[in-house]
Amino acid sequence: MSDYIFYPGCSLESSAKAYYDSVTVVCKQLGIGLKEIEDWNCCGATEYFSLELTPAYALIARNLALAEQQANGNKEIIAPCSACYLNLAKTDHYMHDDKAFGKKINEALAAGGLHYTPGKLAVRHLLDVVINEIGLEAVKGKVTKPLSGLRVAPYLGCMLPRPDYSKRYSDSEHPDELDSLLSALGAEVVDFPLKTHCCGGHMTQIGPDTAFELIRRLISAAEEVKADVIVTVCPMCQMNLDAFQEQMNNHFKTDYKMPILFFTQLMGISFGEKTENLGFGSEFISAGEAMSRIGVKIAEPEKAPAVKKPSGLPMPPPLKKIKQFAETTEEANR
């Protein structure tokens, strides 16, 4: 059993609870100990860099400093979210590479009584730890229910294979790590040409039409190679492809129904875990039919207060009023 410092990130506590649950289960099975950084803060995603660089890096560096303080002999951080992973890795990289910059960030940290020694900790994504530390043979040894017959499209998105400061992935555009892992689970891995293309990122919020086109490309490419599910390693990718798939369908008058799962959910299934412990059922596009093809029945999640019709929840006011409101705020912004 080897221990790692764990940085879950905000998404795993809200929109990607399925990822948190399945990461926890799978790491336990593989003997990966996770010690969560106490009182970690948000990494700022891609948004803080856009406003001001020094505070953006200082925000991330607080997590590195806390991790160093609480390391207790461990030297590596696992971050399952691609954006968190890259931000932590990037901050460590630039603080180490650019000494003056490292000094400046540490000066900011000192205001809060903290310090981070650049290069002290290695930042890693769970996929890389599973492949390079645990190894595919050990993973195969855990498989009790091979995913035979399930056609999966491995999808990594951007921030894992690029810019990849520590060169942990086989290629920045066509890496094969996720393919090998899914093969080891017994799945039928399709050759997915768009495996590191963009899911739209924040464009779902700031330029939805662009986001819909990027989502469409990925879903239609997966459909073309007859994938049953797309497998992701990032909460942002999962959210964009899953939760926005229906809006994308409305936009293009298409009818795709491609389930999007986390790689840890499929690992859990192949290790014989129950679907309810792996966050199944929380996806917008149900994976029920795809999973039933390999004899996995998804237990209905225990419904919280049942909401049958949209009218059961506070609804936005009529369109006309919203438009008026938007116009007035827009004017106020000018």
């Binding site: 660089l53 925000l59 000192a110 963009c198 330029g207 929840l313 409101f325 938007a326």
Partner: protein, 198 residues
């Protein structure tokens, strides 16, 4: 030795310049070595960009404009704001220019100059307001506030998704609990902002 270091040795690099040009200013404000001075205008960046179609100028054009000193045009272009940080251009650039990081720098400068002209800046600000006050992100609140302000006509189409977030995903509509070290974080960010302004 990196190309930038070669230029430094020859005395033609950024640090040897008496009057810093716009190109150098952007390069110097970027963390690490941006290599921005090395652009050969090949256009690989724009050809690799997933959101190029939504941009006022391709990244290649932006770099030419920086070199030409077209400050007002660069800072009011929507190009850096449409960047999705996919790093395709960065890994494909034959001159090893850290393009994604340069885009962040241009956004910083555009905000400081008050030249930005897109709703994207507002999204970043709302996101970070939440982080600066709770220490954690707040996805539902962020999407709600941003869409009501800027994409109100899309709200009816988004209602089923919002409901799914609350029921299927079990997300809380309430803001997150603040981190314990909120005071510490605020002090760090305050000092960082002073250093940024210096």
């Amino acid at each position: 030795m990196s190309p930038t270091e070669v230029l430094e040795q020859k005395g033609t690099g950024v640090h040897g310049q008496k009057n810093m040009t716009l190109l150098h200013k952007v390069s110097m404000s970027t963390a690490g070595e941006s290599n921005l001075e090395m652009c050969i205008q090949c256009g690989t960046c724009g050809g690799s960009c997933p959101s190029a179609a939504a941009m006022d100028h391709t990244p290649r054009m932006i770099f030419a404009m920086l070199r030409a000193g077209m400050e007002a045009e660069v800072l009011s272009s929507n190009t850096p704001w449409m960047c999705v940080s996919c790093y395709f251009c960065t890994v494909r650039c034959p001159q090893d220019i850290h393009i994604t990081d340069v885009m962040y720098t241009i956004k910083n400068m555009s905000l400081k100059a008050g030249k930005h002209n897109t709703t994207a800046a507002d999204f970043s600000k709302t996101f970070i307001w939440m982080v600066e006050n709770f220490g954690r992100g707040f996805e539902i609140g962020l999407a709600g506030v941003h869409n009501i302000r800027h994409f109100a006509s899309r709200l009816p189409n988004m209602a089923p998704m919002a409901i799914g977030m609350l029921t299927k995903k079990g997300m809380s509509p309430l803001p997150p609990k603040s981190i314990e070290g909120m005071d510490q974080l605020k002090k760090i960010l305050k000092r960082a902002k002073e250093l940024e302004a210096a």
